[in-house]
Symmetry: C2
Subunit: 152 residues, 2 copies
DNA sequence: AGTGAAAGTCAACTGTA
DNA sequence: TACAGTTGACTTTCACT
């Protein structure tokens, strides 16, 4: 689907705060409540908006340690790759996993309680997955920016 | 604050779908509607839930090209660092920016339309920020996992 | 901390232009 | 595609356990 200026602004508003009422949105967009309602439904039905979620503050739930892990596989046969991706996706500590270009095969974003928990995660969970050749971890010293909002 | 088993389950449910009504949640948690309401308010007031947002599907808005950029600064005086972090945070293409340990200083997650848009971003926006020493980009071939939900 | 019921507000669906 | 009005469902508050 295509987006006019109002759609784009609406998406920005909903990505910033999805708990706004249609009336609040209608005032910001200079539209009627029904028009806002119909535009939102259209965005939902077309799969542009995939879901609505609550965002949790890491430091409030003692999961303040973030690391990025590069991973190289030993070999890259279809079966190995599929199995690795499935097992990694099942790890709750892994929030993101990307197959990337470059020296390593994968980049993982891992979130745990502290360095000790990270060590445990590496030893007991990640490297217990077979076919991993080598890993290289980078620790987050400071989160400069983190948003889920895509500018349309 | 501390979380009992019900809080943890409630956080998981809200991180999966924040549009559920308190009635639906009350059934899943075997609680009254009011009890659910009060637990949610407590999580919000304590800052555990920072906000509610709509998640947008990248491929539906032609922002399907994701890259990770390593960045090294020329020098690391306080003034340079602050200025760099501020300017990077203002770039809409940069969804995430972390100060990290290792060979490079920063890791950025960048989302744009395509390779050409990425080239433009690098030339016109990113490297036009002063003090950048070197960069190293990795392109996402496939997104294996991506979740915003933290397991409490 | 929990509950049930009352009061106010909203989403969702009509009709109509 | 936009609007206004109606209805049932929801959030929020309150008195009480």
């Amino acid at each position: 689907m295509t987006f006019d200026a109002i759609d784009k602004k609406l998406l920005a508003l909903l990505q910033a705060d999805s708990k706004q009422t249609n009336k609040q949105l209608s005032l910001k967009l200079n539209l009627s409540v029904t028009a806002v309602y119909e535009r939102i439904k259209k965005l939902e039905n077309n799969g542009v908006i995939s879901k609505y979620v609550a965002l949790v503050k890491k430091d409030k739930v003692e999961k303040d340690f973030v690391a990025f892990c590069h991973i190289k596989l030993i070999q890259h046969s279809q079966a190995y790759v599929v199995k690795f991706e499935k097992e990694v996706a099942n790890l709750e500590e892994v929030l993101e996993c990307y197959h990337i270009s470059g020296d390593y095969d994968y980049l993982l974003k891992v979130i745990v309680e502290d360095m000790e928990a990270f060590r445990e995660f590496m030893v007991n969970k990640l490297t217990s997955i077979n076919h991993i050749g080598s890993t290289h971890s980078m620790f987050v010293i400071n989160e400069v920016k983190h948003t889920t909002a895509i500018t349309v």
